[in-house]
Symmetry: C2
Subunit: 152 residues, 2 copies
DNA sequence: GCACGATCGTTGAAGTTGTCAATCATTGAA
DNA sequence: TTCAATGATTGACAACTTCAACGATCGTGC
């Protein structure tokens, strides 16, 4: 039986496995499904967790900033924040300096859940990056950051 | 005006930018939108290009193998192959050893378009990874491969 | 040789996500 | 004081994902 991914690689050969973009896509797909599995008991997904995490920042972001950071359409952020707000994890605060913008901040309950969620995803992460040494993993993080946030 | 991603990072702080999974997601989103833009003139997307590339392999894969490699549901592969086949880029070949499976191979036209597409994406790639030295980029590729294809 | 469960491709339905244009309130600049 | 630009929101629509079901075929065990 040919079932494991490594077998498929062997069978298909090196058509795409040297392609950084493809590897990025596949690694991301694996990371996301693992993280979603880990977050499911908390009724969070990768998306809502990301928004919650950003809302926990010292300087809470506006919805527009969340959209840009997460590369989402602003209208998607509306739905995500709506949901988190209904669950009392997050709240929209008026920005005194610009009445158009909503600043999205976490409630105490939100901060708490965010901590639980962070622990849950970290466990899943460890499994995913098991093939990498701590130093390699750190190096991967650094390189991904230069790609994800250029010109810093 | 706060508009560039790096400004947003500065504003939001380090809520997620140490999170490998998040960086992976963001880097992938950027890579995909760049690749899709580059492929649009050829009427290809990242997905269809990936399938086409796999079909160009020396040992053409079955649809099931494509699905597993690309982490797609088999039913999605049906639609992708349908489209490429209608355009004469790819064909379903009977596998003599198993009449259930379709082997998906590229036609000469398909091989040709795949080459054009590879060139187009490569140009976009160079821009995306401009912050990395060739050695770093190679190292990134190697590490992503370990994550994307574990236990090799 | 034949029944049985498993696998491959396919279809269709249902849910989720992505994309886009339009709108309103507000802002900053001419 | 206008006027273009921006942030949030809504609604419509396309695209993608997920899942269960099906027919054809395979391999195993009897």
């Amino acid at each position: 039986m040919v079932d494991r991914a490594s077998d498929v690689v062997e069978a298909v050969g090196s058509a795409l496995d040297a392609d950084v973009n493809f590897l990025l896509a596949r690694a991301n797909a694996m990371s996301m499904s693992a993280a979603n599995r880990a977050l499911a008991p908390l009724e969070l997904k990768v998306r809502s967790y990301s928004v919650l995490a950003l809302a926990c920042a010292a300087a809470p972001p506006s919805q527009r900033e969340i959209a840009e950071y997460l590369r989402l359409d602003p209208s998607q952020v509306v739905a995500l924040v709506d949901d988190l707000q209904k669950r009392g994890l997050v709240e929209r605060r008026a920005d005194p300096s610009d009445r158009r913008t909503n600043v999205v901040g976490a409630t105490p309950t939100g901060v708490e859940l965010r901590a639980e969620a962070a622990a849950a995803t970290q466990a899943a992460e460890s499994e995913l990056y098991v093939g990498l040494s701590p130093a390699q993993r750190q190096s991967l993080t650094r390189m991904l950051r230069t790609v994800a946030f250029p010109t810093e």
